[in-house]
């Protein structure tokens, strides 16, 4: 019982926040009609997919005490690569695998540089942010990469001919979230990720191969970012080297709103997913309220600060 109440307290914060924003947007006259409908939530879920999949990888990285600023650029680069492969007539599954591989490769480079050169993740990924974005533009010759059509385009559409089913992207994000949560909680790899983030010196002293572990974490997270790139491509239906600028900040914000600590060792997949949903609900609700985008940006900025502040208050009371 005590265990349950403690988990509720620790995980409940983001969840209460999510309920709160949903309730708030259900009340005004402008949104009352449409906000709390199945169709709107289908849109919200679909809009969450890219950030949510990115947040899966980012949660691993942040829990391990790291950060990755190159996510938006990785997504742009993989989506350009994917579009070019489709142009060459590749089938959807090989395209998917190739894009995940490209993402993983960027992660591998990040991880190797961070662990091998012993440099801070902030600097390394700030560098790859530029490198990957530039490469994407170079590969695409500074234009969007268009293709006739591909089944991939159907993976993120909300215009579902069968009426009620959610698009493939939502199911994939959901399934991966469950798998990643299990990976982090129940496996040696996952527990080592927490150990690394909580205290790297202890992890090393206890015989954890920290260098290899870091490379593995960034590579796996990179694979998630590659997959996020796939759904970005599916949504835009073209490869755009200028897409997802600054998306890493949304992803980091989701993870932080979800209760993770930037100093490492703390964070949950469930929390990050709720964090991603909070961001999507805020965007969706603000649009329906007819608020201008600058107003949305201000609100989301404030929510991040308030969420982390409340989280700290709660932690303080617990201790």
């Amino acid at each position: 019982m005590k265990e349950i109440s403690r988990v509720m307290l620790a995980k409940g914060g983001p969840f209460i926040g999510l309920i709160l924003v949903i309730v708030l947007f259900s009340i005004p006259a402008e949104t009352r009609e449409f906000f709390l409908t199945y169709n709107n939530f289908k849109i919200i879920f679909t809009q969450t997919v890219i950030v949510a999949i990115g947040a899966l990888g980012m949660t691993m990285i942040i829990v391990s005490g790291g950060i990755d600023l190159s996510v938006g650029s990785s997504i742009a680069l993989t989506s350009v690569a994917g579009a070019q492969l489709i142009q060459r007539g590749w089938a959807p599954i090989p395209v998917l695998l190739a894009m995940v591989a490209v993402g993983a490769l960027i992660g591998l480079l990040n991880g190797t540089a961070i662990a091998g050169l012993r440099m801070t993740p902030f600097i390394i990924t700030l560098g790859t942010l530029g490198v990957a974005r530039g490469s994407a533009k170079w590969m695409a010759d500074n234009q969007t990469v268009n293709y006739d059509s591909s089944p991939i385009n159907g993976w993120m559409t909300t215009a579902d001919p069968f009426g009620h089913a959610l698009p493939a992207g939502v199911w994939v994000a959901l399934g991966l979230a469950v798998l990643t949560a299990i990976l982090l909680r129940k496996t040696v790899f996952g527990r080592h990720v927490f150990a690394l983030g909580s205290n790297e010196a202890t992890a090393r002293l206890c015989g954890i191969a920290t260098t290899r572990l870091k490379v593995a974490i960034y590579t796996l997270a990179g694979a998630f970012f590659g997959l996020a790139g796939l759904f970005q491509l599916s949504r835009l239906r073209q490869g755009d080297p200028t897409v997802a600028v600054g998306l890493e900040l949304d992803i980091i914000a989701s993870v932080i709103i979800g209760g993770a600590s930037l100093s490492g060792g703390v964070g949950t997949i469930l929390g990050s997913m709720i964090g991603a949903l909070i961001m999507a609900v805020l965007r969706n609700g603000s649009q329906q309220m007819g608020w201008p985008t600058y107003f949305q940006e201000i609100i989301i900025g404030l929510v991040i600060i308030v969420a982390v502040f409340l989280d700290r208050l709660r932690q303080g009371r617990q201790a």
Partner: protein
């Protein structure tokens, strides 16, 4: 009594259901050095936090020089004349010594630093301490710990404190620096500053303090003149335990050589060390801080690369180095630095205790959480770790209990060769006694133990063989019977004949 600088009467403080202080009374005269003695958890830190204004008391009165003393916060306490030097120094390492001394109390005119007055005030504070020679322009981070402490004391002196609280000031000082600090304290005493001195080193308290007060479970259980008190009496007050029980000695026959260190060196400090360790042997490593004792353990454990020499475990030279291999070979390492290296403070007791062998709690990379928790819970019971349950975050435990968990990690692994670096540093006497008992039992069970300790009675009390390091070299290795405290100090300072 008019000559009372600080008087505390029946101070009480509770945190939720926990009564940290039940009733503490204290009287200190001007120019008196007063030792506060007690096990961890006895209420010393809570009392100091109340004195320095970090907490308010629930009940009781405080008087400073005859007026009620009710500090609102540490800054207010400082202005009222009570300054505190924390165990963990609070310096801005990237600022100069002078900037640190004047931090928060800069001499300025309309926001511009007045260089001349600043220099004079900083210099004046240093001369009060007898450290005029300290280079005020050097960055604080470039000074030794002992010098940094002087900077911090100088900062406290800027506001001419009536009472100066020092929390474990010698915990990271060498013998020589400790003596210098005592000279500084004597100067302050002569100027009429009252000093509250907190330390786990009872001998030290006896050397420096005029009077003492013993706390136990949040209550004052005794106080008096230091000169007339015996250490045994004080330890009995603290623990209700006789001091001779501290170092248990069970018979432990020695077996085959399990660890051989041959002319090992590592950068930057360890120059040369050779030793042999037998099953059932407790090998003590003495020496000053910085003599290379920790470096030797780290080199044996594969945390630092060897620049020369060889480490043989169970008779075979080991090519495979690194902590992972060492754990695999049955070697366990206890870090001297619990907070920064030894433990993951924001993780549970369970995760900390089982980190070296997670794979053993399940198959194919899965961790069976229930089994892991059961094992941790068993150790918590066995070592009497004070905690809610094994799921509690380790950062919430006291130092002694944290250390028990850190040690349990080696016991659970299980290790055959124990490398223990300052296993009793900063923990209460009760936990210390328990750790001595544990080490003795390990030896009786045929395990081999290397213990680094700066505390000589401990080395002489628990070890079979003692080696002393000096300036990166392991110079003398002899059976315990051939050592005395003086002998060890001589060897450690390189003045052995």
């Amino acid at each position: 009594m008019s000559d009372v600088r600080l008087r505390l009467t029946a101070i009480q403080k509770s945190f939720g259901a926990t009564r940290a202080l039940k009733s503490v009374s204290l009287e200190i005269a001007p120019g008196e050095v007063h030792a506060i003695i007690g096990e961890n958890g006895a209420g010393k830190s809570t009392l100091m936090k109340i004195l320095s204004g970090a907490y308010g008391a629930d009940a009781g009165t405080m008087n400073l020089s005859g007026v009620p003393y009710l500090p609102e916060n540490p800054h207010d306490a400082r202005l009222k004349g009570v300054a505190m030097i924390y165990q963990e120094l609070n310096l801005a390492l990237h600022l100069s010594a002078q900037e640190n001394i004047l931090l928060g109390a800069e001499s300025a005119r309309a926001g511009w630093i007045d260089r001349k007055t600043s220099r004079e005030r900083a210099q004046a504070a240093l001369s009060q301490l007898g450290h005029e020679g300290l280079d005020l322009d050097r960055l604080a981070g470039d000074f030794s710990i002992a010098e940094q402490q002087i900077i911090e004391i100088a900062r406290a002196l800027l506001i001419s404190p009536q009472v100066l609280i020092m929390d474990e000031p010698t915990s990271s000082l060498t013998q020589a620096d400790t003596e210098k600090l005592f000279a500084t304290i004597a100067r302050l005493r002569a100027r009429g500053v009252s000093i509250i001195y907190i330390s786990h080193f009872l001998e030290e308290c006896r050397l420096i303090a005029d009077r003492y007060t013993v706390l136990k479970d949040g209550e004052t259980v005794g106080s008096g003149e230091m000169a007339g008190a015996s250490l045994d009496h004080i330890v009995t007050l603290m623990t209700g335990r006789e001091v001779k029980d501290l170092y248990p000695r069970t018979a432990h026959p020695m077996g085959a050589v399990v660890l051989e260190v041959k002319a090992v060196a590592s950068k930057p400090r360890l120059r040369q060390a050779t030793l042999q360790l037998r099953a059932g042997e407790i090998f003590g490593l003495g020496g000053l801080i910085g003599a290379g004792r920790t470096d030797l353990l780290r080199a044996i454990f594969g945390l630092d690369d060897l620049a020369a020499g060889e480490v043989c475990i169970l008779g075979a030279p080991t090519r495979a180095v690194g902590p992972k291999n060492r754990w695999g070979q049955g070697v366990g390492f206890l870090s001297e630095n619990r907070k920064e290296e030894g433990l993951m403070l924001n993780q549970t007791i369970t995760d900390n205790l089982t980190l070296t062998k997670l794979g053993a709690f399940g198959r194919m990379g899965w961790v069976n959480g229930a089994r892991q928790e059961a094992v941790a819970q068993r150790w918590v019971g066995e070592l009497r770790v004070k905690c809610r349950d094994a799921g509690q975050l380790i950062g919430e435990l006291s130092g002694g209990n944290q250390q028990k968990v850190a040690l349990a990690r080696l016991l659970e692994h299980p290790a055959r060769i124990f490398l223990l670096d300052e296993p009793t540093r900063g923990i209460d006497v009760g936990s210390k006694a328990q750790i001595y008992q544990l080490v003795s039992e390990l030896a009786a069970a045929g395990k081999a133990v290397v213990v680094v300790s700066s505390y000589l009675p401990e080395l002489l009390g628990m070890c079979d063989t003692i080696g002393v390091m000096c300036r990166g070299e392991l110079t003398a290795v002899r059976p315990r019977a051939e050592w005395s405290e003086t002998e060890i100090m001589r060897a450690a300072t390189g003045s052995a004949g």
